[in-house]
């Protein structure tokens, strides 16, 4: 049953993404000032939203673990964070390429990119922490606390970097070229977002199954050693 859901989600998202690619390349006209590179926005923004949403959903899963002590909630949190981290990487890389074209440099301290980089660093630390703890319960506890800290902190990081950039104006990646996109151009963005959300859900479900397998292996190993 689960497998069917995963397959359905994956196929749907693949179809949606293909259709979107077609629209993005062949139907949407070029944006006035930025040219072709503008189209990267159709992946950059949905990837950013997907990963960000993921981190916060994972936080709720972590809080759920702390309340109920169900290791499946911890597995869910870890899976969601991992997939979100992958999408955050995509956000950073596509943003970097965008910056390369617009500003001529590979990295730019645009407030959104900078905040995302901090976010990325925090979650890399999250997985380092998980790898360093062997006991599943301790690992779940510590990851949950870190997840909560991270999500609260990210709000402050975002606000502070934004304010810093208003005081020290720097590069900003333009999403709305000159006040709002034309209606025909905006739609693929939201469809892509839907597709990425479905794709990430499929990946998360797969990862959760793997975590369950890992738990089964651990318990069987304990059982075997009991002989």
């Amino acid at each position: 049953m689960r497998l069917k859901i995963i397959l359905a989600l994956a196929t749907l998202s693949a179809l949606l993404l293909s259709w979107d690619l077609y629209r993005i390349f062949l139907q949407v006209p070029d944006e006035a000032s930025q040219g072709a590179i503008f189209r990267i926005i159709y992946f950059h923004v949905p990837a950013a939203i997907t990963s960000f949403a993921g981190f916060y959903v994972a936080m709720f899963s972590s809080i759920g673990y702390l309340i109920r002590k169900d290791l499946r909630l911890d597995a869910a949190a870890a899976a969601i964070n991992e997939v979100s981290l992958a999408f955050a990487t995509i956000t950073l890389v596509t943003g970097s390429i965008w910056g390369r074209v617009i500003w001529g440099i590979w990295w730019t301290w645009d407030p959104r990119l900078t905040s995302f980089f901090v976010c990325w660093l925090i979650y890399v630390g999250y997985f380092m922490l998980r790898r360093a703890i062997d006991d599943p319960t301790a690992r779940a506890r510590m990851s949950a606390v870190l997840s909560i800290f991270a999500c609260v902190d990210i709000v402050l990081v975002w606000k502070s970097i934004e304010w810093f950039r208003t005081q020290h104006p720097g590069p900003v990646l333009e999403i709305r070229g000159g006040g709002g996109m034309a209606p025909g151009m905006e739609a693929p963005l939201w469809w892509n977002l839907l597709a990425l959300l479905m794709l990430s859900t499929a990946l998360i479900l797969i990862r959760m199954r793997q975590e369950a397998m890992q738990r089964e292996i651990d318990s069987m190993r304990r059982f075997a050693h009991a002989f």
Partner: protein
């Protein structure tokens, strides 16, 4: 004993042990001096540039040297199962945490207060008339550093790579507090007036301190005990 009494007892214990051995403060101060030295190779200490990045330099020194103190905080309790004894004692997790925070805060402030004039001498920076405001920034910023650092010291105490994990986890989380402290320090050291714009950083520092103190006090029991 009251909540405060027990907390202060823990703080006093840590401070007493540190005063007797002086090992952590010395190590931290030496490290601060080394960093100040290394930075002097990174750029010409006499130029005007220093004025622009003075705040950043100062807080990088504080953050790096502070990590040594924060790392030791719970690590010193591992010997002879002292940590288990403390957790098993009637002292609540929050009291243990707060006591250690207060002790670490005092130690950090000592290191910072010694590093500041040395920094001013090395980099030819005239310390501002409004030293009181700079001191206030140090007080606020250091508390943020202490709270997060102490909580994560508790979290990483049992890990093999403790010395590596603590900075890796803590520095990204500290960015709002460090940014605020750096911005305010730079403005104050340069002798400029604190405009409307910079009040935001004060509010941010206070908000950071309040939010993370409450969050840490709430979650520390889970980290220590489970």
């Amino acid at each position: 004993m009251s909540f405060l009494g027990q907390t202060l007892a823990i703080a006093a214990k840590d401070l007493r042990s540190e005063v007797r051995s002086k090992e952590t403060v010395n190590a931290s101060l030496s490290f601060a001096l080394v960093i100040l030295l290394l930075f002097s190779f990174a750029f010409d200490p006499d130029s005007d540039q220093v004025r622009e990045i003075a705040g950043g330099l100062l807080w990088l020194v504080f953050a790096f040297a502070g990590t040594l103190i924060l790392n030791r905080s719970f690590a010193r309790e591992l010997v002879n199962d002292c940590l288990d004894a403390l957790i098993a004692s009637p002292v609540s997790g929050a009291q243990l945490f707060l006591g250690k925070c207060l002790a670490n805060y005092a130690l950090l402030m000592i290191v910072e207060c010694i590093s500041l004039p040395i920094f001013a001498i090395f980099y030819n920076v005239r310390l501002p008339q409004r030293l009181a405001l700079l001191f206030l920034v140090m007080l606020l910023g250091t508390w943020g550093l202490t709270v997060i650092g102490t909580l994560f010291s508790a979290m990483t105490v049992n890990l093999r790579l403790r010395e590596l994990m603590l900075p890796t986890l803590v520095y990204p989380l500290l960015i709002p507090a460090l940014m605020g402290a750096i911005q305010l320090s730079t403005v104050l050291i340069a002798g400029d007036t604190l405009g409307e714009q910079n009040l935001f950083w004060f509010r941010l520092l206070v908000a950071f301190d309040v939010i993370f103190t409450i969050l840490s006090l709430g979650l520390v029991e889970i980290v220590l005990v489970g």
